[in-house]
Subunit: 340 residues, 2 copies
């Protein structure tokens, strides 16, 4: 039998290959693989949303600088973010874990304390799961359900030319938080007596370790009566997610450097690490903000939302997804997100 | 900080400990952790069911004798079995996998061919998932949704004194299939030129590698208008599952050796391995049959079902869950199921 390395396809290529083999047959399945969450119609006025994530030690997290409580919280928040990205609100989660005997009961307690804190913050119920031994390391699988009014669901594929491109919160922080923690780890390995010096990076480290899913913005849009024409959560980086929206909506876009929401603390951290804060904002992952588009008719309704920034607009040429610099340059947006 | 080994609690102890920390708050959550699947009320005449399982290489399966296609099929069937155990029928699944670079694209194709075959057999849609690298081995996480009419849901906790105890299919085969494959593996390791000799064990090996979730029986009960008073699927062994039903229903039970459905091929295999076929039937895991109880009033309706065997009855003393031998002895039923 031939042997093809998975690396030759990449994660997205592998998912495409799997997806092509499956055709959904149930009338209840409105949207399967290919968006932030599956969309199911079980009757009534709301769709059921389902999202799932798998987190693997040594691939998605490093326990030498990730407290288990934060990890538990983040595992839930990442799935809630997927539900929010359909313009939905979360309801229930299941959590399965596999772990080696390196982990104690107290370690499991810490992990679940974080899961519980997230359940309380997002008002969701833990309704099931599985626990297992593993030969090495920790694996966490979270599946979340959610709901959204049928007339308010937001897919990646609904962006239209002239729509306004919006983003919540601020960008690039989580990526710089990762740099700060990786540097501390290397310095600790070189000199174990050293105390960590992360005060200056507290903001960006918090962005990595304590991400918040933007259900608050979903509530605000609901109150304002605004339904995004498209939506996605920013887990792999703004550039990568904008390309997803443009590809699935068959449109182009122009976004602008001067509009990118970047915190001062992120810019300072980027300077220290000699990384462009623009690159961090465009290609850094794990910010768990929402990227969405709205019709121009809704501009007046959302222009005063403090947590939403307008960064550009949708165009009709799918071959042109562009980034405009402050100096007037125009460059193609390129995905350099984490492909894990 | 104190360190308590997880082994001191065991899997069920750990699950109890986690469960105690969580209280469900949503009115939609009818049943969370503690049954075969969670039960959610999103309106309408049906409940949404959610079940999840995590399968870890080297813990739950051994790829030296488990074809990837069978593994994929079984991962789905095990979750469908959990949905069936609520007297429900499956709708959608999500499948997440983590795997090391030992696995090729062709291997992934094999795994998903089995998943697809199961989706077709059980008429379910694959609607999502995640793929990831792993540092070692293969991990598969499956979450299934299902539905059940609100007036037909069967919990573990509903058995009443004088109810009849029923089991589907036959028991003990999967456990003996495992013995056969383990023996072949050892002989192969000792002498790699040897050809496998599994013809005589074809039935029991098939029971292990190709389990069928008993949705057929759920359909039959529906047609007959019979709602089980309690139900559970047999993944850890008949004894363990009967104890779950009795504990959660606060009842006792008496089941009888002479009634246990055991195939001739299973008895022959048990003889060859010098294992009691009764022990295999009571304590062997992974048969994925259904154990359920019905009211005596429903006896006439189900007595002719070829796939259902009546093995005993429910009593009112929760301290007595008993097994009656052919020779007239009475012994307490004890769980020796796989605690993984």
């Amino acid at each position: 039998m031939n042997r093809t390395e998975i690396a030759t396809l990449g994660e997205f290529g592998l998912i495409d290959r799997i997806n092509q083999q499956f055709v959904n047959v149930l009338p209840q399945t409105i949207k399967g693989i290919g968006d932030d969450a599956a969309v199911i119609d079980n009757g009534g006025n709301e769709y059921l949303l389902i999202s799932t994530d798998l987190l693997v030690e040594g691939v998605h997290f490093d326990l030498s600088y990730t407290p288990l409580k934060h990890l538990g919280y983040k595992a839930v928040a990442a799935n809630v973010s997927d539900i929010a990205a359909m313009n939905g609100l979360p309801r229930q989660i299941t959590v399965s874990i596999a772990m080696s005997n390196r982990f104690s009961v107290e370690a499991v307690d810490e992990l679940y304390a974080g899961i519980k804190a997230a359940c309380e913050d997002y008002k969701i119920d833990l309704v099931g799961g599985d626990t297992s031994a593993s030969r090495s390391g920790l694996v966490i699988s979270v599946t979340a359900t959610g709901s959204v009014a049928k007339n308010a669901v937001a897919y990646r594929s609904g962006a239209k030319p002239n729509d306004i491109v919006c983003v919540t919160g601020d960008l690039g922080g989580a990526f710089l938080g990762l740099q700060a923690l990786e540097r501390e780890k290397q310095e600790f390995l070189a000199n174990p007596d050293m105390q960590p010096q992360l005060d200056e990076q507290a903001y960006v480290v918090g962005r990595l370790l304590k991400p918040a899913a933007r259900t608050d913005v979903v509530y605000e849009l609901q109150e304002l009566g605004v339904v995004p024409t498209s939506m996605i959560d920013i887990s792999d980086g703004l550039a990568s997610e904008l390309l997803h929206i443009c590809k699935q909506s068959n449109v182009g876009a122009a976004i602008f450097e001067e509009n990118l929401p970047i915190e001062d603390a992120t810019i300072l951290a980027a300077d220290e690490f000699k990384i462009s804060h623009i690159t961090a904002a465009l290609n850094g992952g794990e910010d768990y903000e929402l990227l969405f588009t709205i019709s121009q008719a809704d501009y007046e309704k959302i222009k005063n939302l403090s947590q939403v920034t307008l960064i550009g607009y949708i165009t009709n040429d799918p071959t042109k997804v562009e980034f405009g610099t402050k100096s007037g340059g125009r460059f193609p947006v390129q995905a350099q997100g984490w492909q894990k």
